[in-house]
Subunit: 246 residues, 4 copies
């Protein structure tokens, strides 16, 4: 795998501009911290650029997406402001093989709801301690991750989380309040690979934590496909008899 993985970190980038508290935790934006973590973990194996909500086309032009192997998505208060056309464009790229990492409050983003087909609702509470348990120790996203690790301050996300049963359940979290949550979930859709990871809040330094950075780096590698299948999903072709025989 000599070629570099081209990552685009998408962030609505609103909380950081609206709150000095958030800006103090993420001075370069949440996207900046995520990109920094990926470079720290993956070095030259990865190139990182970012895109944000208030750029033209949310920074996700056809050109940018065509040059993106893996997209990370962080959104929260701006979900409704994301254009349906851009969502359709991103969905198409995922089905065509681009990797997608949906992070934390991105569970209610249009793109995640579109790809899951469910409501993606859950229960939540402001501040708690989260313990992330590895329930798939042979999974590439869990490689080098301890059997359990703790995030001291984290928004609680709890079940029932309305998603399809994940194709691969990698992490399940507990909170000191007693809730559980399927916090690391793999889905394959079309030719693309999707990883949802719930840890990561705007007011807590979760994206600076070593285990989280390791997991996101592993997920980028897992979601990346050097060579995409030639199958064209945009058509339902009428095939003559023996079309596939040589």
């Amino acid at each position: 795998m000599p070629s570099q993985i081209r990552v685009t970190t998408w962030n609505e980038y609103l909380h950081e501009k609206a709150s000095t508290d958030v800006a103090a935790v993420y001075p370069k934006g949440i996207h900046g911290a995520i990109g920094e973590g990926l470079k720290e973990q993956l070095g030259d194996a990865v190139t990182v650029r970012s895109a944000t909500l208030e750029e033209p086309e949310h920074g996700l032009t056809e050109e940018v997406l065509a040059e993106t192997d893996v997209l990370t998505w962080w959104g929260h208060m701006g979900h409704a402001r994301v254009s349906d056309d851009i969502v359709t464009r991103v969905q198409k790229r995922v089905l065509d093989g681009m990797g997608l990492l949906v992070l934390h409050s991105g569970h209610m983003s249009k793109i995640f709801i579109r790809l899951m087909g469910t409501s993606c609702t859950l229960n939540w509470r402001d501040d708690d301690t989260e313990h992330v348990w590895n329930v798939s120790p042979g999974h590439p996203i869990a490689e080098g991750v301890p059997p359990v690790f703790t995030i001291p301050n984290q928004e609680m996300y709890g079940e029932f989380f309305d998603i399809p049963q994940p194709d691969e359940q990698v992490f399940i979290s507990s909170f000191d309040g007693g809730e559980v949550f399927r916090s690391g979930c793999c889905f394959r859709r079309g030719k693309g690979r999707i990883f949802y990871f719930s840890p990561g809040h705007e007011t807590f330094p979760v994206y600076h934590q070593a285990e989280v950075r390791k997991i996101l780096a592993n997920a980028v590698r897992w979601a990346y496909q050097p060579t995409l299948s030639p199958i064209d999903l945009s058509k339902a072709p009428n095939q003559p008899l023996n079309w596939f025989r040589k």
Copy 2:
């Protein structure tokens, strides 16, 4: 389970009106044949009504859906004419626990694409012989169904079929032309259960065939829930500490 299962058979009901050939095969409409099969198999355990595209609200008013436990869906040439609002309404009901059987060319219906999150494209050809293989002999939908059965004339549907990997793969078909197809697929979404079944074409008497009728009756029973969970998927509530403790 003394209560009756309330089934609504939805059909776009266009081919039957446009073609005397189709009308000859399905004089009461495809919905009529499906409903007839369910009554034949399930008797008093089921009540059946129908709904069609050209009725107001496609026959799928809030009232009708509220009184429907399991909805069957057959569409083809009229997919684009189905209102997005009605699709949203049906999706909500499925996530709230209504069963859904998506049949044959319904793979490209708006409601199926919405619930799957994928393109749902496939390869196809006009006429072939289909062999339906049971790959989950302990599944309730396969109960009383032989290990393999043949549909003499059937439109070929072949892989790659762009769906999420089914939660339960019940049937896989071969065609004499050499293609394979995941023809019986279970999905759980929200609180609802979805079964996709590919056999069934407007010009062939597939819905009169005994094994197909058995499968659809089994699927109705499988998709039916006498008591729905009280979980409310329409909200992502902020929960106080210890909300779930008594």
Copy 3:
């Protein structure tokens, strides 16, 4: 479904005879409490008999198994005393379509390990409070079960639990100590259906609790098949060309 479900509740029945504390909680044995709960929930829809380790052939003769639709299994200190031949016999019946409910410490029983192919190890601790979360609200085993319920005193079972990813994950538990556990797991193997449910300890009255009784009754109904597939798994037959065509 007019026919009755024939349940056999298997219990090693050792703790109850060795400890007056256990006997005080389960005066009729753990098997007695489980059977009582099934009768309470299912009434005439079920017949219940029991079998125990120290009976000849552990009470699981060919005749008993042939007349059993669903077997429940509770074992702990006597796992090693279960005959390999009886394990093989039970496994064969499960693959042939008998339902199996494996309970609590049965996770380390020979029959569960045989059917899973993994070590089935986990982490544990003597006493804690367990919260059982429903993560599949549309599943038949969760029907009528609240979104979450609490077992005041319960042995802690925690991840990593070495099982194959369940075909259907129905419940996940948290403990006040902070652990999580996949506590309600469905597996389909051969023609049979297997449900593992972790709540239920010899020194706590878990099998007297209403939610647990509801779940076990639901699981018995889920695991029961009125009509078994004619597929014969004991052979790998050489089939002539066109063997399946009429």
Copy 4:
């Protein structure tokens, strides 16, 4: 991933010695052809050694297994001659993270049956043409593999194949006789990854075919874990309260 993947190709190596026809197709043994294909595809990324049934301990000593990252398994007429102790040793290594590729008639090997927990029976016939369809175009094992390819001469393997539903279904095959077969199946067990691939017969040059070689090379990379999880599956430890908190 600079380190080399250490592969051991296991073969019962009986047909080649008993039949000049087989020896003509596989002059270096089936294991030789498989190893040759891996070197051809993966070059210096892989080191390959072989082991065979009639060597002491079937060539699978503790030392050899300890130095094996991925094991491939081909067996047929000698299944019963494989020692149960060696099977237990291999199973333990798989659960501890060694990759395993089970090939063709290996579906009835002791190690596959042990890891699946099912009978692994199927239907078969001597000679047919197989078409291998990619049903998971975003899967790493399908990378660079065409949407469908044909094996001109191949033993027919047909459903029902008694395995657990695969965690990931990558390939499904059709045969000109009309059968279907789940021919490429991923399973995760313990910390290990298992791939079953059915094409490959002793009398046909299947392991010389380019697509098959590509798939086996992809599967070796998929099954390989550079760093294994520290979770110890051999114990079910009693953990004190707060054992996982720092």
